[in-house]
Each structure stands twice: as structure tokens, then as C-alpha cells.
């Protein structure tokens, strides 16, 4: 009997394992695809801090149905993408970036803010042609098949651009840029070396701001001269996308070459359950200031151009800001949280005014962007003619460039450099 049970048990085990393997294989397939719904920073990283980028061309789509010819740095394994991969490294550790060039002209990468950069083992430095004219800010990879290897030791913790140092106006406009995130050694969830720069793990966002004049891109695509005197940016992007594509998840299937979304999704501050803020890393790869304006809450500026805002003896020089001016080539790192300052409650602390009466409505009319209820986590009936944008009582705060022409898609309002910050009730959103 014992022997029979042992054999039966063995058979059941074999059968169970086989079934689990087979079913598991079937179920794993859609789960692999579901990784595409991720939001927030999507880091490219590896233990050796060695990255292979390929300068190439491709197309991106804009929400108005346009398709724009771009150049960019792509991961050499996965190909063209806009912007280039977000490279995440650790401060004080060596970094290697191998650039392969498939473009029809020479290109390069500069790493503003990084010291002692070498190109193929030699100091990275400006290059001049036979006539003594500047041809590139650093050694470049020749057109078509060239490559160059840049090495440096990652500098102070913070956020940096990497971008083309060759024919800069044209190539950066064409899309040759990406973000470099330098993390403090031993503190991956701090923005800089200061303990007060800690953020909630996973609540980390990069907002790489840029613009596109489609006329320039069309000229390059057609191999025609560019008329810079008529330069007019028509599209304004966060992470290579314009509103409403900014709301879509990372790696959305309908944006195959624009992998990074720009939705911020957090819960309210709570001293016990959610004590740390999120961090948002702003970078400007464009040619003008982008005054980025998150509605609903200030952000604390703690880093500028990869350096902590601190005095000579460590004084905290960070500051709260309601409108974040990000200059061309500049980076600004912020901490952002949302606090239920008034603690409104429908029974114990009702809002002492008629709902609705908030700026978002007045800004764009009575039909737009009202968050349903004044009470976080509560869904109330709305007055007639008021629509809502609310799944489970969560809030949505719009965030956009306050130079309003930058919040358009080729002139159509409610587009461009715009996204939303989503704040869920403390207990989470139970309807998902």
C-alpha cells in the first residue's frame, strides 16, 4: 500500500510539474507583454556600466497624426528610439559608452558635467578641420560605419544630458539626446549624497523636454538645405511624446519608437505609510526655456545641473517652486509629494464652499479636468455640465509648459509638453 501510494504520489508529482510547466509557459507569454504597462523611469543599466548606442534614423508619431523623421541614439540591440536610452550609473564608477554611427554624416556624444571624458582612450576635446574651423566638440564617429568609445568616471549624483557634439544645432534638433542618471554610491533611492534627497523606491520620473520643427526634419529627410531663419518649433515633447501620448504607458504598442511615458502616479504623503516624496528629473534638450508648471503642488528643487543645492558647510539651499524654469542644456531635479493639507472629509470636515470652484475648470471651461469630488477617494455626484476624469476618487493634476504655445500640437491646444500627475487615495485604487 505504502509502495503504491509512493508511486502514485510520484506520478501525481510528475503530472503536476508537467502541467505547471506547460500552463506556466502559456501564461507567461501575456505576462511578458504586460511589462509594457509600467510607468516611471525606465533605466538602462548593467553591472559593467557599459552601453552600446547606435546613432540612426527613424520616425516618431505625433498625436495629430503626423509622422516625423528623426535621428537619435538607440540601444544597439533594440534600435532607434526617441529619446536615447536613459542610462543609469553609479557615481564614482567607470562608465563606457560605445557609439556606432549609421547616419550619413559624422556624429558624436558630449557628456556635459562629466569630467575627464576620453574618446578612444584620448582626452575628449574639440576637433578642427584642415582650415582650422571647429568640426566637432569631441572626437566623432565617421559617417556610415564609424564608431568611438567614450569613457569617464561618473560624476556627482544627479541628472545630466548626453547629446551630439557635432553640428549641434542640427543634430540635437534631429533628436540626438538622452538622459544620464548618476546615482549616489550605496544610496540608489537618493537623488544626491544628502539623506534628505531620499525618494520612494520606484517613484522616480524623468521629464526630458524638447521641441521639433518639422520643416527642419523634412529638409534633412529630403537631403535639402535647412533654412534656420524660418525655424519655428511646432511640436513640444516630454520624453519624445506629446500630450496625450504622454499619458500612455512606457513601451505602448502604438508608439514603438517612443518608449517613455510621462505620467506621475503617487499617493498622498503620510508620515507612517508614505513618508518619502517622488523625484522628477527635468532636462531641457531644446533651444529655449521651458517653464514647466505642475498644477496643484509645488516641487522642491534640490539639484541643478547634477549638483546638490547645498552651502559650503552643507546648508540646505533647496527651495520650493511652483513653476520650474528649465533652461536649454540645463537639468533640474526635484522632490515632489502631495499633501492632504486641509484633510477634507465629507462628514467630519466638509469643504466649506460650493464645488466646483477650482482653477482647472476656470482655465479651460466647465467641462474639463474636474476631479469629480473634492474628497480624495470619494466619488460624488457632479453638477450638470461638469464632467470628470476619475476612476476611484483619485485626483489628476495637469502639468505643462506655461509658455502656452509649448502646450500645443502644431497649434492645437491641449497638446505638446503636457501630462498629468495622478494622486491615488491612501488605500490605493481598488478598481484596477
Amino acid at each position: 500500500m505504502t509502495n503504491l501510494w509512493r508511486k502514485s504520489r510520484s506520478r501525481i508529482a510528475v503530472l503536476g510539474v508537467a502541467t505547471l510547466v506547460a500552463v506556466g509557459t502559456a501564461v507567461m507569454w501575456p505576462h511578458a507583454a504586460s511589462a509594457a504597462v509600467a510607468e516611471g523611469l525606465d533605466c538602462e543599466t548593467n553591472a559593467q556600466q557599459t552601453f552600446s548606442l547606435t546613432a540612426g534614423d527613424g520616425y516618431v508619431s505625433t498625436p495629430d497624426g503626423n509622422s516625423i523623421y528623426m535621428w537619435s541614439y538607440g540601444d544597439s540591440k533594440t534600435g532607434f528610439q526617441l529619446p536615447g536610452p536613459t542610462l543609469c550609473v553609479t557615481s564614482g564608477q567607470p562608465v563606457t559608452v560605445i557609439l556606432h554611427n549609421t547616419l550619413p554624416e559624422a556624429t558624436s556624444i558630449v557628456f556635459p558635467g562629466q569630467k575627464g571624458v576620453k574618446a578612444n582612450g584620448n582626452p575628449a576635446q574639440p576637433q578642427f578641420d584642415g582650415g582650422g574651423s571647429l568640426s566637432s566638440l569631441v572626437q566623432s564617429a565617421v559617417a556610415g560605419t564609424g564608431s568611438v568609445t567614450y569613457t569617464f568616471t561618473a560624476g556627482s549624483p544627479g541628472t545630466y544630458l548626453y547629446e551630439s557634439g557635432t553640428d549641434v544645432n542640427k543634430q540635437v534638433q534631429m533628436g540626438m539626446y538622452g538622459a544620464l542618471v548618476v546615482r549616489p554610491a550605496g544610496h540608489p533611492n537618493q537623488v544626491n549624497d544628502r539623506a534628505d534627497s531620499a525618494f520612494t523606491a520606484g517613484k522616480e520620473y524623468v521629464f526630458l523636454l524638447s521641441e521639433v520643427d518639422p520643416a527642419v526634419h523634412l529638409a534633412v529627410e529630403r537631403n535639402q538645405p535647412i533654412d534656420w531663419t524660418t525655424y519655428t518649433a511646432r511640436y513640444f515633447m516630454i520624453n519624445g511624446r506629446s500630450m496625450p501620448d504622454t499619458l500612455a504607458p512606457n513601451h505602448a504598442s502604438w508608439l514603438p519608437t517612443q518608449p517613455y511615458g510621462a505620467l506621475v502616479h503617487i499617493k498622498p504623503y503620510d508620515a507612517n505609510t508614505n513618508p518619502l516624496p517622488a523625484t522628477i528629473r527635468y532636462l531641457n534638450a531644446g533651444s529655449v526655456n521651458y517653464p514647466f508648471h505642475p498644477h496643484g503642488s509645488d516641487e522642491r528643487v534640490i539639484n541643478r545641473d547634477g549638483h546638490a543645492l547645498a552651502g559650503p558647510t552643507g546648508q540646505d539651499l533647496s527651495y520650493q517652486k511652483y513653476d520650474l524654469d528649465v533652461g536649454p542644456g540645463q537639468t533640474v531635479d526635484t522632490l515632489m509629494d502631495w499633501r492632504d493639507a486641509e484633510a477634507w472629509n465629507p462628514t467630519t470636515n466638509p469643504i466649506p464652499t460650493q464645488i466646483p470652484a477650482i482653477t482647472d475648470q476656470l482655465l479651460v471651461g466647465t467641462d474639463t479636468w474636474f476631479s469629480e469630488s473634492g474628497y480624495l477617494g470619494t466619488k460624488n455626484a457632479l453638477p450638470a455640465n461638469i464632467t470628470s476624469n476619475n476612476e476611484c476618487g483619485e485626483y489628476y493634476h495637469i502639468a505643462h509648459s506655461h509658455a502656452l504655445e509649448q502646450s500645443t500640437n502644431f497649434g492645437a491646444t491641449f497638446g505638446g509638453m503636457m501630462t498629468v500627475f495622478r494622486i491615488d487615495p491612501p488605500a490605493g485604487c481598488t478598481t484596477q
Binding site: 508511486k7 506520478r11 510528475v14 503530472l15 508537467a18 502541467t19 510547466v21 506547460a22 500552463v23 509557459t25 502559456a26 501564461v27 507569454w29 501575456p30 504597462v37 510607468e39 498625436p63 495629430d64 497624426g65 496625450p244 499619458l247 500612455a248 504607458p249 505602448a252 504598442s253 502604438w254 505620467l263 502616479h265 479651460v364 471651461g365 467641462d367 474639463t368 479636468w369 474636474f370 469629480e372 455640465n385 464632467t387 470628470s388 476624469n389 476619475n390 476612476e391 476611484c392 483619485e394 489628476y396 500645443t408 497649434g411 492645437a412 491646444t413 491641449f414 497638446g415 498629468v420 495622478r422 485604487c429 478598481t431 484596477q432
Partner: protein
């Protein structure tokens, strides 16, 4: 001797039963997995249905429905075919199209109508953002867009 033969025969028989059961389980799971993948693939197909009546009456061709905002919002995009009709459609705040899940009998009708400029240009794509009320739509399923008596069915939800 006959006992030994009998024992060997029984063991051999049990091994075959085990092999057959394991094989059947693998085949069954494989078939189920393939069917699931096909259904999923169908639901995720980017082929978007069209409806001539909707295009004629509303002046727009719907082009995409996608769950965004980490599940909390839905974007509906459409291409303008007739500027005048489309402008009427876009400005009819009181009667936006409703979105229905075809598999779970959920719906969302609450829309934030994004103002897209004063004139809707033919050939250009515009959008609406919906609240995804109680998770009305899910990535990978099919939905219907309903505007009055007009109905666009089997829309893939991205």
C-alpha cells in the same frame, strides 16, 4: 516466475499510463495556451473597425482606443473627415460617445473633452480623454463606441 512476469507487466503498464497522462497534460495545456494566445492576439490586433454611417454623420473616423494613466484614463482618437461635422461632434459636450466593454458589461461615459483649437482640420487626428470608471475598459479586450444610435463594435483596446 509468473508473479515476476505479472509484476513487470503491471509496472510497464503503469509507466505507460504515466507517459500518456503527462503527454495529455502537455498537449492540453499547449492547446489552451495557443488558444489563449490567439484570442489575446486577436484582441490586441491593431486592425481598427470602420463604420461608414458614423463617418457620414459625425464626420470623423475613430482610430484608436487606449487605456492610459496607469489604468485610470482612456484616450479615444479620431481622424477628422469633415471639418464642420467634426466640430459639431467635438463641441457637443452633453452627448459624448459611450465606451462599452464587450466582455465585461462595463461602460464609461464620463469624458473630458480636450479643446483642440477652434477649427478641426480635415485629415488631422484629435482626441478625447475619458475617465476609466471603475476600470471600465482593460488593455487587450474589445469595446464598442456608441453615439446615439450609431455603434462601432469590436474596437481593440490597446
Amino acid at each position: 516466475m509468473s508473479n515476476i512476469i505479472s509484476t513487470v507487466a503491471r509496472r510497464a503498464g503503469r509507466r505507460w499510463v504515466t507517459v500518456i497522462l503527462v503527454g495529455a497534460a502537455v498537449v492540453l495545456a499547449g492547446v489552451a495556451g495557443t488558444a489563449y494566445a490567439l484570442v489575446k492576439s486577436d484582441a490586441q490586433s491593431t486592425t481598427f473597425p470602420q463604420n461608414a454611417q458614423i463617418e457620414q454623420q459625425l464626420g470623423v473616423r475613430f482610430s484608436r482606443v487606449a487605456v492610459v494613466g496607469d489604468g485610470g484614463l482612456v484616450t479615444v482618437t479620431y481622424v477628422v473627415l469633415d471639418s464642420e461635422k467634426a466640430s459639431r461632434f467635438q463641441s457637443d459636450v452633453a452627448h459624448p460617445p459611450s465606451l462599452y466593454s464587450e466582455s465585461r458589461h462595463r461602460t464609461t461615459t464620463r469624458v473630458s473633452l480636450m479643446k483642440q483649437g477652434h477649427t478641426l482640420r480635415a485629415g488631422q487626428t484629435y482626441y478625447l480623454v475619458y475617465e476609466n470608471t471603475h476600470g471600465a475598459l482593460r488593455h487587450g479586450e474589445r469595446a464598442s463606441i456608441v453615439e446615439g444610435t450609431l455603434r462601432l463594435e469590436h474596437v481593440p483596446v490597446l
